[in-house]
């Protein structure tokens, strides 16, 4: 499913470019192909380098288990899992960047620096959003917060939810390294963030990383979709609604990617600050 989303994004971009584009499952094929290849490591690296991809994958998987799909409660949900949710990605980031630094390459160091720098701004935005949701749902568990209760939530604090959704969208774009923050398809190292970090990963390692990234996109997307499409009908219907929502999100991302240009690095923090302010303003609206 996550890789399928990537496929949709690709298709959308291709459509905008007036091309047919690769098949929807192309990313999946790529990953499978990569997994078959052999490994290659830099002489500089140590075990930290090998740990990078694994940790990012494992953490992403764990985060996925905390996410409710539609109105179905998540497999794992408890009071305060939202903190765990956020910090799992932190753990993943720690090791990805460490692995990048392990190669001792200037590019990858640069990428790592950008990654952690921008995450310093996305995290507060995320937590502002979570506070709003807590306030509206009165729960500290994701399954409750963005679970069945969303209907009333929109009823009470629709305005702030709009803001929250907007800011979460920016967070999503940043965390998953999409235009306008990052350009996953460019070939100029100096302009990359995520891609440049994994320059030295090859074969299965790279495949794992791609899959983990897609998973991250999926997970964050799921949260966003639940907020944006608070459909609370019969479980199966809601499942379908959720799936459609995810695709719509992918399309939306594709549209953004193909209509916007990448921002200059210096401007990115401003955009992220804007995201923080959006959700903070959301809080103010709820507080009133």
């Amino acid at each position: 499913m996550p890789l399928f989303l990537l496929g949709i994004i690709g298709k959308t971009k291709a459509a905008f470019a007036g091309r047919v584009g690769p098949p929807l499952l192309q990313p999946t094929f790529d990953v499978i192909k990569l997994l078959r290849k052999g490994l290659i490591f830099s002489r500089t690296t140590t075990w930290v380098f090998r740990a990078g991809p694994i940790v990012s994958l494992v953490t992403a998987l764990f985060a996925a288990t905390l996410i409710p799909l539609g109105t179905h409660a998540a497999p794992i949900s408890f009071e305060g899992d939202l903190v765990l949710f956020a910090y799992l990605f932190g753990l993943g980031r720690f090791f990805t960047v460490a692995a990048a630094l392990d190669t001792g390459s200037a590019f990858e160091g640069m990428g790592g620096a950008r990654e952690v720098t921008f995450s310093c701004l996305t995290e507060p935005a995320l937590f502002f959003a979570l506070i709003v949701l807590t306030r509206l749902s009165g729960s500290l568990s994701l399954s409750m917060m963005i679970g069945p209760g969303m209907g009333q939530a929109w009823h009470f604090g629709g305005a702030s939810l709009v803001l929250v959704a907007a800011s979460l969208f920016i967070v999503l774009l940043t965390e998953t390294c999409r235009i306008p923050i990052d350009d996953p398809t460019t070939h100029l190292e100096l302009t990359m963030i995520h891609e440049v970090m994994v320059l030295d990963h090859g074969g299965p390692a790279l495949g794992i990383i791609h899959y983990a990234a897609a998973l991250k996109l999926f997970v964050l997307g799921a949260v966003l979709v639940r907020i944006a499409v608070p459909y609370t009908g019969s479980p199966w219907a809601s499942w379908g609604v959720f799936a459609l929502g995810m695709m719509a999100l992918a399309v939306l991302i594709g549209i953004v990617e193909s209509t916007m240009a990448r921002l200059r690095m210096a401007q990115v923090p401003i955009l992220l600050l804007a995201a923080c302010l959006l959700s903070a303003f959301g809080i103010v609206l709820v507080a009133r």
């Binding site: 500089t44 994958l57 305060g80 899992d81 720690f94 995290e123 502002f128």
Partner: protein, 656 residues
């Protein structure tokens, strides 16, 4: 019984350095005796505290014939918690010292260091157990003076002397505020006994709050009052830094906890004030840390940050006590206290591993290091564990305590009062920001020190540390993992401490065990760890079947790649320092390298301590200049002197 054990431990610790004074200057007997005594002392203290937690303590109250003094000792929940921390870190540090500060390598100051190390431990144990203000003061000052003498161990270096002087001035200010605090306490309760502090209200209460914030904030290194901390932690020997950063500054936290426990109904703004101080300290502390190049200074600033987190927890607890909400109190105070423990553990671990790096490379400059994980893998692993823990990432202990604080903050966000929950609602994102910044900072530190290629020849001689150094590190790392994986084993201690702090809420069945999803956390942490281990095994097997080929790092086709091309710590932090430049005031040298043949130059940025270097030192200069101007009064002329007497007479007669 258990009080006696702890006091025996304190006494042994105090005496541990004494035999060494008469042993041979270069022999090892002195240090051996010292370490042995310290270990025994720690065991005594730990057993005593454990017994106190298990069976409770009915205190010890002996006559102490000094004005207002009683030798009153009690190991209640709070005290026991801190005693455990003191003796654990102190004992490990003493063992570490055997390898780190060998008498044979430091014949001049080794004995001095050990003597005052023991005294510092004893002083802390005493002040934590004391239930009488005089006894508290005694322990407090013994600790402070001994700490000064350990910090200025290498007093032949001017920098160390200056640092020691700043520390001493700061700690004396704290002590004098304590004088005032206890005087006010006496005036309003009529007793020197902590237990018998009857509810204080009005101006006295406010005075006590402000005085305690200055006094204990100075000791704890809360943001505006942290000036002494970075220098002291940087120049002290590393195991002393571990003890100071891990335990000594927590005495300030202990002071806060103890003082606030006197007030059953604190005004709301108390909690909010403490929370805000915590936020400021946390954010700015970590921001300053990112700008540092000296890895011990960097760690020191992280102490400021963690103290901030702890104070956020305290603030939540205070708010909870105002509202009579047991949940808030339990989560806030529990989080704060657990974080004091955790910070003791992982900061101790970090300082010890930093010490072994310093010991083998002889430099504290991050940008002179690199690639150490090949030469000293175990130290690298220890540092990595500490780094992950201090960033509050699962599955280690930092996450648990920060989770408690988060839960407390979110609880306030759930409260109906719309005016009140904003404080909490702003606290959570702040904590998130702190976490992210800490992550950035420690990725930078770990990466620049241990990963990549060596940046200078400092690392050529470096070697893995001796078992004396590695042993304590291993124990600390295991403890970090232990608390992270099985938190529900330590929560009873916290619960008893919370019950002692707010007895009136003890009835409301707010126990951390029920409030926090400990079972889930534990389950997930364990499974995460196991999954990672499993994956590691998979990789290992995969590599076994298909060995990976080796190649050079991708250099983008550049002809002459070299170690100096690596991202240095300052370049890594450049953007973040820029974002926070409004507070850090960095001194940036950004060379203009345009043109075809730009001259050789380098980008550098330095972040000094703003409060100390831009505010306090100028102020002190001004003061001493003013004093100098007054000195013409005493310029040696007898006639003038006699005139002063005459004038005094006239003034007094007129006054009458």
């Amino acid at each position: 019984m258990n009080e006696w054990l702890v006091m025996t431990g304190a006494f042994l610790a105090a005496a541990s350095g004494v035999p060494g004074l008469w042993t041979d200057r270069r022999g090892t007997r002195g240090e051996r005796i010292f370490a042995a005594l310290m270990v025994v002392a720690s065991l005594c203290g730990l057993t005593g505290a454990a017994l106190a937690v298990a069976r409770g303590s009915h205190g010890l109250d002996l006559a102490w014939p000094v004005p207002g003094g009683r030798f009153a000792i009690r190991l209640d929940g709070i005290a026991a918690l801190f005693v455990i921390q003191i003796f654990a870190i102190a004992g490990l540090g003493a063992i570490y010292g055997l390898g780190y500060w060998k008498q044979s390598e430091h014949p001049r100051d080794g004995r001095k260091l050990r003597l005052f190390y023991g005294l510092m431990t004893a002083g802390m144990a005493l002040l934590v157990c004391a239930r009488n203000t005089m006894l508290f003061m005694a322990g407090w000052e013994i600790m402070a003076a001994a700490a000064f003498l350990t910090v200025s161990t290498q007093d032949e270096q001017k920098s160390v002397r200056d640092v020691g002087y700043v520390y001493m001035a700061a700690t004396r200010l704290a002590t004098l505020c304590l004088f005032a605090l206890f005087a006010v306490l006496f005036a309003s309760t009529g007793t020197f006994d902590f237990a018998a502090a009857r509810p204080i209200t009005g101006g006295a209460a406010t005075a006590i709050l402000l005085l305690s914030i200055v006094a204990f904030g100075l000791k704890a290194g809360l943001m505006p009052m942290h000036v002494w901390l970075p220098g002291a932690h940087a120049s002290a020997p590393s195991h002393v830094s571990a003890l100071m950063s891990g335990v000594l500054i927590k005495m300030g936290i202990y002071g806060f906890v103890r003082t606030f426990s006197f007030f059953p109904h604190p005004p709301l703004w108390w909690g909010q004030l403490v929370l805000l101080l915590g936020v400021a300290s946390g954010v700015l502390g970590v921001a300053f840390a990112i700008g540092q190049h000296d890895f011990k200074r960097l760690l020191a600033y992280h102490s400021v940050e963690n103290i901030g987190i702890i104070c956020m927890g305290l603030g939540v607890a205070l708010i909870g006590r105002t509202l009579g909400s047991g949940a808030l109190v339990a989560l806030g105070l529990g989080g704060a206290l657990l974080h004091t423990w955790n910070h003791g553990l992982f900061k101790g671990l970090l300082f010890l591993s930093a010490g072994s790096v310093l010991h083998s490379t002889g430099t504290r400059e991050i940008d002179e290091l690199g690639g150490l994980s090949k030469r000293m893998p175990w130290t690298a692993l220890a540092f990595l564990v500490g780094a992950v823990a201090i960033c509050g990432l699962p599955p280690l202990n930092g996450f648990v305590s920060e989770l408690f604080v988060y839960l407390g903050l979110f609880e306030t966000a759930r409260l109906p009062q719309s005016d009140l929950w904003l404080t909490g609602a702003l606290g959570a994102p702040a904590l998130a920001l702190i976490g992210a910044l800490a992550l950035a900072c420690f990725v930078k530190a770990f990466g620049a020190m241990f990963l990549g290629e060596p940046r200078s020849h400092r690392t050529d001689a470096s070697h893995e540390a001796s078992p004396w150094l590695l042993g304590p590190m291993a124990i600390l790392a295991l403890l970090c993992a232990f608390i992270g994986l099985l938190p529900w084993l330590v929560t009873p201690v916290l619960d008893s401490a919370v019950a002692t702090w707010a007895p009136e809420l003890a009835s409301s069945h707010a126990r951390l065990t029920t409030l926090a999803p400990l079972s889930w956390v534990s389950f997930l942490a364990v499974s995460l760890a196991m999954l990672l281990a499993f994956a590691a095994l998979m990789v290992r097997r995969h590599l076994h079947q298909r060995p990976a080929e080796q190649a050079g790092t991708w250099d983008c086709g550049y002809v002459a790649p070299g170690p100096t091309m690596q991202y240095s710590s300052s370049s890594f932090a450049q953007t973040l320092v820029g974002i926070f430049s409004w507070a850090l005031r960095p001194k940036v040298h950004n060379p203009d390298t345009r043109g075809f043949f730009p001259h050789k130059d380098a980008y550098t940025s330095h972040v000094d301590d703003v409060v100390l270097d831009s505010v306090l030192i100028p102020a002190a200069e001004f003061g001493s200049r003013a004093a100098k101007r007054m000195k013409w009064l005493q310029r040696g002329s007898m006639q003038a002197y006699l005139l002063y007497i005459l004038l005094t007479l006239i003034v007094l007669f007129l006054w009458r």
